[in-house]
């Protein structure tokens, strides 16, 4: 029964990683860049939800919607101001810019909200579900997290496969030049990608902050790195890969903590990543790319 508890909390943690990893993987797939500021958009979303709830007393669902809107706009603005001018630049310049944006957001948050850790209020739900005569306790939040992750995955896959914009995104991922020749507006498509990724980051923010109710300017950095790892683990650029990578990472992390060592968990998680990449360099579900010379 204890094993099941570990497994479920690992699943919940993995679901959050998966939602964040989607942002990394989509942006990478379409714009071929690593958006290291993604973790800090989570942080920004967290602060918006926090202030909307505790300072303006808005109801929980409104706070989440507000947070999603804000993060979406922030993501698009960042893309327009920082990344778009570098579209033709080398990938290294874009990478450095992304790191710069990440530090800018962290420090701006520190300046605006202070560096002290804030307690995130319970805006979603409190309480827990008891099963097997109370031997197994699952908080409602855990269930919400896992269900949200599934809904997002199904929704996103449908969106990518069925809608016109989704098709445009896939076309851009496949071949930018050809997509533009076919009349697809590359900039709009990339903006939409950033918007979706950032909106998902806000959802992840609320889930993350509700499960571990603390909020600080560096909130996003560690989950951001873990989610990025998950995206690479599953095969960067692949949406089902992000889900698989995230959930596996969460479960491995929790089980190592439980059965091997709480201090070595990160070391073991990253060792697993290295081993996977050695055996399958494109990640678990990554596609092999044939570079034509």
């Amino acid at each position: 029964m204890t094993f099941l508890t570990y497994l479920i909390s690992g699943l919940a943690l993995g679901s959050v990683y998966a939602i964040i990893a989607l942002g990394y993987t989509m942006v990478y797939g379409i714009a071929k860049m690593l958006n290291f500021a993604h973790g800090d958009i989570i942080m920004a979303g967290g602060y918006v939800a926090f202030y909307a709830f505790s300072k303006f007393g808005l109801p929980g669902y409104l706070c989440i919607i507000l947070s999603i809107i804000f993060s979406t706009i922030l993501g698009v603005i960042i893309e327009r101001l920082a990344y778009k001018p570098l579209r033709a630049a080398s990938s290294l310049s874009v990478l450095i810019t992304a790191i710069g944006v990440s530090y800018f957001l962290q420090n701006a948050a520190q300046l605006m909200f202070g560096s002290d850790t804030k307690i995130f209020p319970a805006m979603l739900t409190d309480g827990s579900l008891k099963l097997f005569n109370g031997q197994l306790t699952i908080s409602y939040l855990t269930i919400i997290t896992i269900v949200t992750c599934i809904i997002i995955m199904v929704g996103l896959t449908t969106f990518i496969n069925k809608t016109k914009i989704g098709k445009a995104m896939r076309a851009c991922a496949e071949d930018k030049g050809a997509a533009q020749l076919m009349g697809i507006n590359l900039n709009t498509t990339i903006s939409i990608t950033f918007a979706i990724g950032s909106g998902l980051a806000a959802i992840a923010a609320v889930l993350l902050c509700s499960t571990y109710p603390s909020l600080s300017p560096t909130l996003g950095s560690m989950p951001g790195i873990k989610a990025f790892t998950a995206a690479v683990f599953g095969g960067i650029g692949s949406i089902p890969g992000a889900l698989l990578g995230g959930i596996l990472l969460g479960i491995i992390e929790n089980l190592t903590k439980a059965y091997i060592s709480t201090q070595l968990s990160d070391a073991i998680v990253f060792t697993v990543l290295i081993v996977v990449l050695l055996i399958k360099p494109t990640g678990l579900l990554g596609k092999k790319e044939n570079v034509k010379v």
Binding site: S115, K118, G134, T137, Y212, K257, T262, Q263, S265
Partner: protein, 396 residues
Amino acid sequence: MKKLLVVLLAMLCVLTLAGCSNGGSGNGGNNEPAGDGTVTVKLGGSGPLSGDAKVYGEAVRNAAQLAVDEINASDSKIKFDFKMEDDEADGEKAVSAYSTLFDWGMQVSLFTVTSGSGAAVAASYDEDGIFAITPSGSSTALVYTDSKNYPGNFQMCFTDPNQGVASADYMAANLADKKIAIIYKSDDVYSAGVYEKFVAEAAAKNLNVVYKDGAFTDDSSTDFSTQLTAAKDAGADLVFLPIYYQPASLILKQAKDMDYAPVFFGVDGMDGILTLEGFDTSLAEGLYLLTPFAADASDEATVHFVKAFQEKYGEVPNQFAADAYDCVYAIKQALENIDYKEGYATNGLCEDLAAQFTSMTFNGVTGENMTWAENGEVSKAPKAVVITNGVYVSAD
């Protein structure tokens, strides 16, 4: 345009500098002999009055100033001239603060507020023979090193290792039948120090520690579900948390979410949990914590101190303030005991005070019958408090 900017910047610099020197001047103070048999002692000290840790420095300065004002207004023969320098909790700045104070003619010192600064100037105090007692620098590096004891350096607060020992002793005396789990922060000197001593003392006292691998680090300080599940699984009904209040607040929340309700037990780093913004204080109900000072204690000294502090500064004093207040009164008591007066041989002052401190007992707001060991560590009974209805209530 660029030139204009440079000129503007230069002007700004000059203005800021002028502002600084304004604040610093006029604080000299002369040691004038008074004809009525009173003697003025120059009391120095440094602490963070700006920067991240300024809450601590200000608490110490305010409380020490309160004690000095009280003493100077009384009919005591010993009067104090108090000067506190800003060291921003930084070792290098503490060294220059020390030089400033030394040039000023400091005779007795409140040392430094933080451990890092104190470690940087501990040897200087020893070499120059100035008696120093820190209100809150809890590292042992302030009072001795592995190879050398600083005979004139003392502490008013518990050292980190002593808190571990005191916690285990308290549990052995009052909560002996509990099964104990420990969650601590392995990359933090404070937490790891308390943890190691606690484990050793718990073994010596035959406490039943069922889970002690609950370490976490700065990177993993949000998710405690595995540690709590393991503690619950091991049947622990007391969880010892030698950590600061911020991660502790998350542990309390997550324990509640998984329906795990053991007794939680913290040390002085837990102090402050009730004032954490947005914290649901009902989570801390029944939490034990070991602290030298409880502001709501009903003994006469504490009531007087809390009331005076509140009147003067408009806030409830914390343990840093209480320790500083005690430091000043302990110094006064020692000075009276050695019958310090005009013309006292200055070079023997440090040794005489050290001899007094190691032999006298002192009653203050942070404890009764305090004594000091040769190595400068204080011995006082820690007060255990239980949080009941959102306030500290003495546990016994």
